[in-house]
Every structure is written in structure tokens, then in C-alpha cells.
């Protein structure tokens, strides 16, 4: 199974947010999507999720165009950057609702409540979502993303707002899923996390895909161990040498 972006273009008004993006992602990869603010990272993710509809080009999920489709999303777990939920719903109800949505969408659904256990969410099940702190909301988001044992995980700033312990727990969970051969797509501003979690790097700038390489290759190329440094070099070098 793989995800294929083919010549994706998207503009919001005058600004071209995605310009001719083509990209193949495969199972077993853990892809860090990097780039300055406004480079199109979020739009890329959103277009994969069907939230943003590309102006041209197509996205193939397991060989099928996702346009006007929604069933493919039963294979995706998504953890949004900001988890704002209906304030008067309780955590338990939100989880039940997600289960309701997923039920019948896929054969043999597996419920993975490991995150719920790790974050000890069950004892807060009866709390309305509106009363939760930002960190707890993040935990709920994470729990939802992993809940259905999806083949593809899309994690938008997963560790932002989590306390160090929770952050570590989440990361180990991500690594575990990675070992199972899932496709993981992460955006983050915390380079150390990405270094730990990812096998591949997508670098975007001004709506263009500048780099898509294995992390190891980049390390060799730049003679740098640290992803942070590599990125800094990337930004400085203006890419002229690197693009083949």
C-alpha cells in the first residue's frame, strides 16, 4: 500500500500553497514533513485527508483516487494540532462517537486502547471536553488517532503541549507502530523528536517540494548527525546544489 501525490496544485486566492507536488509514500516509512511557516505542510496533510481539495493533480491512496471518496480514511488515524472538541461532550462520549463512526466502515475493526491506558484517560471519561486542559486534549487527540489501529498515522505536532512524560510515552507508541510497518506522517517543530521518529524527510518551501529523502542519506550527504543542523544548512544553501 502506498500514497501517491501526483502533480498537486493548490492556491488560496493569489498565493500558491502547493505547486506541482509529486510524492510517493510507502508503508513502513516514517515521514517528517518540514518547512518554514506557510510552506504548505498543513495543506499537504489536509489534502491527503480530503479537507483541502486540490485544484489539479490527484492523490492516490492504495491506488485509488481519493477525490470525493471517504471510505479510505478508515485506514487513517489523524491527530490534529489543535483538538477543539464539542465542549459539553464527555471524553467517553467522544470516543463512543468515533467508534460509532468507524463501525461498519471496515471489516474486523481492531480497537487499540493502549494510549488511553498509558494516559490514564479512563478516569477522566466523565469529564466534559470543554473543561480539559490543552495537554489533556492533546492526549485525547492522540488516543483517537491510534484507537482504530490504522495503517496510516498522520500526526500534526503530536508532542506539542504534552508534558515530558506523556511526550515520551507517545513517542514510544509511535515507534512501536512504526515497527509494525505502518506509514507515519509527522510534522513537528521539535527536531529532536523527528530525528528519533522519522526515517524520511520531506522538506517544503513556498509551496514546493524541495527534498524527499531518507534521513540516513541526508546525514551522509551533509556529514551531520543532527537533523536540526541539516535543516539549518538546507535553508541556508538555497538548495541549488542539492536538487538533482
Amino acid at each position: 500500500m502506498m500514497i501517491k501525490f501526483e502533480n498537486i496544485n493548490k492556491s488560496f486566492g493569489k498565493s500558491e500553497v502547493l505547486q506541482n507536488i509529486s510524492l510517493n509514500l510507502e508503508m513502513g516509512q516514517s515521514v517528517a514533513i518540514l518547512g518554514p511557516n506557510g510552506s504548505g505542510k498543513t495543506t499537504l496533510i489536509k489534502s491527503l485527508l480530503g479537507m483541502v481539495i486540490p485544484d489539479s493533480g490527484q492523490i492516490l491512496f492504495d491506488g485509488k483516487n481519493i477525490k470525493n471518496e471517504f471510505a479510505y480514511r478508515s485506514e487513517i488515524g489523524y491527530m490534529p494540532q489543535i483538538g477543539n472538541y464539542p465542549p459539553n461532550l464527555k471524553i467517553a462520549q467522544l470516543i463512543d462517537m468515533m467508534k460509532d463512526i468507524r463501525k461498519g466502515k471496515k471489516e474486523g475493526i481492531i480497537i487499540d486502547e493502549e494510549i488511553i491506558e498509558l494516559f490514564k484517560l479512563k478516569k477522566m471519561y466523565q469529564k466534559p471536553l470543554g473543561t480539559l486542559s490543552g495537554g489533556t486534549k492533546q492526549k485525547v487527540s492522540a488516543a483517537l488517532a491510534f484507537l482504530f489501529d490504522p495503517k496510516v498515522l498522520i500526526l500534526d505536532e503530536p508532542t506539542a503541549g504534552l508534558d515530558p512524560l506523556a511526550s515520551e510515552l507517545l513517542k514510544s507508541k509511535i515507534l512501536e507502530e512504526k515497527r509494525k510497518g505502518k506509514l507515519i506522517i509527522i510534522t513537528s517543530h521539535i527536531m529532536a523528536d523527528l530525528e528519533e521518529l522519522s526515517t524520511h524527510v520531506v522538506y517544503m518551501q513556498e509551496g514546493k517540494l524541495k527534498i524527499f529523502k531518507e534521513l540516513e542519506d541526508l546525514r551522509l550527504e551533509y556529514g551531520e548527525e543532527r537533523l536540526g543542523k541539516i535543516i539549518a544548512l538546507l535553508m541556508k544553501n538555497n538548495f541549488s546544489k542539492i536538487i538533482a
Binding site: 479537507m51 481539495i53 472538541y85 463512526i101
Partner: protein, 255 residues
């Protein structure tokens, strides 16, 4: 979809504002009927509420709700769920919640104190007005980019429908007094859901006055059940049309 609606409704009906709105309506309705010896006057006071307050609350609350649910809508759209299900579960959830608020706040006391045809018409008209403004709010929300703009549009729509429009109709009628404006004036009222609801109620409360307007078109319209039927159908169209256009836009909207 049904299950999603359930959760949307569950969220909204525990909203403090909606609870307050229901209680306020209940208080107003009961006091109108309690303190007016004549249920007719109670109905008229309620008519004013239905024509001014209920549209305002419905349109503003729906717009705010839509934008407050924006991240949630995003999350839902990352689930294996069609845009249609997302949109209509939000819409129907809101319709159900505000509809219930209206039915408890206004419907129940009205039917208790004046369970006649006119009371029923008033309640039905008010319910349709609520739904219309929820639909309009959704349309306003999907065509705008941010909450402030959407609230602005919603307020403008309310002001136009509830205040400006009739004034404009009056101006037209005054200026065109020399022309036969019989059909035109009926068409004018069909173009505003508030007018339609109001005329539905008038046909119950003021039928003796309406029958005094000479002119075959009026006579036919007001004296037959056709008039009532047509008004209801048009009001329903006022719900369906914006919600349908809203859906068309939402299904292609970038979240």
C-alpha cells in the same frame, strides 16, 4: 448520520446559552399568557418575539456554533465520513436543538394556553423560522472565511429580513400606489420567510381584516387553504434552499 446527530444534539442541549434561551422563551410565553386575560394578545406578543428575537438568536447562535465546531468538523472530516454526513449532522443537530428550545419555550405554553388552530399555526411558523435561520446561518458560515465575518453576514441577513425588507416593501407600495400591486405584494412576501410566517399567522388571527381587501388575488389567497398550503411550502423552500446551497459549497470547501 443519526448517531453523529445524537452527539451534536447532546453537546448543544447542554450548552448554557441554549438552556438559558429555552428558559427565557418559556418565561416570556408563560407571562404573556398569564398576564393577558385575552389569549389573543398573548399570541400577538409572541408573534413579535417570533418575528424579531427568535430569528436573531437562531442566526447568531448557529453561526457561532458552526465556527466553534470548526476544529471538530475538521476532525470529523478526517474520519471515514462524507462531507454530506458531516454537514447535515451538524445542521440537523442544530435544528433539532434550537427547534426543541423553541417548542419547549414557546410551543408548549402556546398549545396549553391556546390550543387552537391559530396557536398551532404560530408554533409551526416559528419553528420554520428557526429552521430557516439555521439554514441561512450555515450558508453564511460556509461562504465566509472567519467567524467575525460570518457573524457580520448573519446579522446583516437578520437586519435585512426582519427590519429593512418590510420598510422597503412599504416604500415600493407607496411609490407605486397608482399601479395594481396586488400580485406584486404577494410576491414580495414570498421573498421573505418572515413575511410568509407572519402572513400564515395573520390568516388565522386577522382573517376578517384580510377578507376586507378587495381584489380577487387576495381573496383567493387568503380565503382558501391553498394560501396556507402555498405559504408553508414556500417557507419549507426557505429552509431547503439555503441549506442545499450551503451543502454544495461545503462539499467543495477547504477546511
Amino acid at each position: 448520520m443519526k448517531k453523529t446527530i445524537k452527539y451534536v444534539v447532546y453537546d448543544i442541549i447542554r450548552n448554557r446559552f441554549v438552556i438559558g434561551y429555552t428558559l427565557l422563551l418559556l418565561l416570556l410565553s408563560v407571562s404573556f399568557f398569564w398576564f393577558e386575560a385575552d389569549p389573543n394578545k398573548g399570541l400577538l406578543s409572541l408573534l413579535n418575539i417570533i418575528l424579531m428575537v427568535i430569528p436573531l438568536v437562531s442566526v447568531i447562535f448557529s453561526t457561532i456554533h458552526f465556527y466553534n465546531s470548526y476544529e471538530f468538523i475538521e476532525l470529523l472530516s478526517a474520519q471515514p465520513m462524507s462531507r454530506r454526513t458531516i454537514y447535515f449532522s451538524q445542521f440537523l443537530g442544530l435544528c433539532f436543538s434550537l427547534g426543541m428550545a423553541f417548542l419547549i419555550g414557546v410551543g408548549l405554553p402556546t398549545l396549553i394556553f391556546d390550543g387552537s388552530m391559530r396557536g398551532l399555526t404560530l408554533v409551526l411558523g416559528g419553528l420554520l423560522i428557526t429552521l430557516t435561520l439555521v439554514a441561512i446561518a450555515f450558508l453564511a458560515s460556509v461562504i465566509t472565511k472567519d467567524k467575525a465575518k460570518a457573524i457580520g453576514v448573519a446579522l446583516a441577513v437578520w437586519f435585512y429580513l426582519c427590519i429593512l425588507y418590510d420598510g422597503m416593501v412599504l416604500m415600493v407600495l407607496v411609490n407605486m400606489a397608482d399601479y395594481p400591486m396586488e400580485k406584486a405584494s404577494l410576491v414580495f412576501s414570498a421573498l421573505n420567510p418572515m413575511d410568509l410566517a407572519r402572513i400564515l399567522v395573520l390568516m388565522q388571527l386577522d382573517v376578517s381584516a384580510l377578507m376586507g381587501i378587495t381584489g380577487a388575488v387576495f381573496q383567493n389567497f387568503f380565503s382558501s387553504t391553498w394560501g396556507v398550503f402555498i405559504s408553508f411550502v414556500l417557507l419549507l423552500l426557505w429552509v431547503i434552499t439555503p441549506v442545499f446551497f450551503g451543502y454544495r459549497i461545503f462539499s467543495k470547501k477547504d477546511l
